[in-house]
Symmetry: C2
């Protein structure tokens, strides 16, 4: 059983990718909608929440944990791995970093994300260690999450704000752009237009799903007879009609949400 | 000692008003920055948080509780009053409602606020009970909080989004507008411009401060010798450099923030 968690519902983009790749494996998702968002909060608070979310998924039977939240992936991984030593963890930063390194020609890579993700400096460190010539140009884009959660996916206001956030990155001549938040794939088209067609976009949800699918199929091979597609089990810490709408938006299908207080 | 709480730092606009009116009384503030915002969450979750926040302030010695959060004021007051029966509570909805009723000529009153505040229907109920002729025109304005928290107080994007939110209210001919969230006073000027100069704005922070000041001076008269201005004590459940900047923005002065985990 694969456990996936996020600060809210954005991580369902990862579930969608996993369902496309390995539909026969059981997925359990937890979205911390009662305390969302994480991206404006401190690394200390985010780490505390990440530990609680992981514990919940393990108690539910998860054998592998996928951190589908860029903010948690940027700040809490050492503590998570140290606390749950036997559990294989996947996160969204490393696969995005690897893919960007592989795609860039000019070695100028852009990153947009929440404030906490950008300020963690994790991408800057990873690229510097791998290739000191790579230049990382960053800009926190905190308004994109609320705009996406409002469903303003292609409104003029959203297009305008995306252009504003990308301007400093374009000026520096990026050729690759990391979408450093699981919400952003929903406005990939607008981001692509505003970034310019020569800029390659990295979607962390796709990248992490490739890694997870490979690991799962190798570590837990299924007998042919067991290959039956199941429904993912979705848990949230708060439930409103707007959260239900959002879940559908991210997952592109309707599913029952179960509520739990952590 | 007066206890004031809010989902985050917006409630400091109430503290500012109280300091202007009754500076000799000690104020303790709690901002739930670790779980902010409340306005997108369910009434059940908001009530749970409000109970915890009140308990914290009472343990710190508060004798009066001011709920400086529109979302809590709209959803959690019956449970709060039932749970802490001996404590005088003040909230931001009732004084705003009274003021609007007093100011309106055409009996068409506008309300913008968070989704949870608007959907609670509390204003609609209050006006209907007081005067069935009053028409309340509402529009949730969920993007204003993140825009204000970004410090985009007068950017073209903010002006444009404010205009968009107010358009349906203007069409219905409102002559009075309730700023149904403690963040909104910070963009009062933009809201005033977009609403039109004939529309009177109701600032809940001012209205609740008038009520609280009156009650406090009557119930706890101070001897002349005790009239010394003190500093308010500010507590938050999460601390980042951006939260520090925000606190200064709302309070218009610099103050140390103390962190506590609830």
């Amino acid at each position: 059983m694969i456990g996936v968690f996020d600060s809210g519902l954005g991580g369902l983009t990862v579930v969608r990718e996993l369902l496309a790749k390995i539909p026969q494996y059981k997925i359990i998702y937890f979205g911390d909608t009662a305390r969302t968002p994480y991206g404006t909060k401190s690394a200390e608070t985010v780490t505390k929440y990440a530990l609680e979310n992981t514990r919940f998924l393990l108690e539910k039977g998860a054998q592998v944990i996928v951190v589908a939240c860029h903010t948690v992936s940027s700040t809490a991984m050492p503590v998570l791995k140290e606390t749950f030593r036997k559990i294989p963890f996947f996160e969204v930063v490393t696969p995005s970093f690897k893919k960007a390194l592989q795609l860039t020609r000019k070695k100028i890579i852009g990153l947009i994300g929440t404030r906490t993700t950008v300020e963690s400096g994790i991408y800057q460190r990873l690229f510097h260690e791998a290739d000191p010539e790579v230049k990382v140009v960053v800009n926190p884009a905190p308004l994109l999450v609320p705009l996406i959660e409002e469903g303003w996916l292609n409104k003029p206001e959203t297009r305008r704000i995306v252009r504003k956030y990308l301007m400093p990155l374009k000026i520096k001549g990026i050729d690759t752009l990391i979408l450093g938040c699981t919400h952003y794939p929903l406005i990939k088209k607008v981001i692509g237009e505003k970034a310019g067609k020569r800029v390659k976009l990295i979607d962390p949800s796709e990248e992490v799903a490739i890694e997870v699918a490979e690991f799962i199929e190798k570590s837990f091979p299924l007998k042919e007879s067991l290959k039956v597609n199941g429904e993912p089990e979705i848990w949230v810490s708060d439930l409103t009609s707007n959260f239900e709408k959002l879940a559908q938006l991210f997952l592109k299908r309707r599913l029952r949400l179960n509520k739990v207080s952590l």
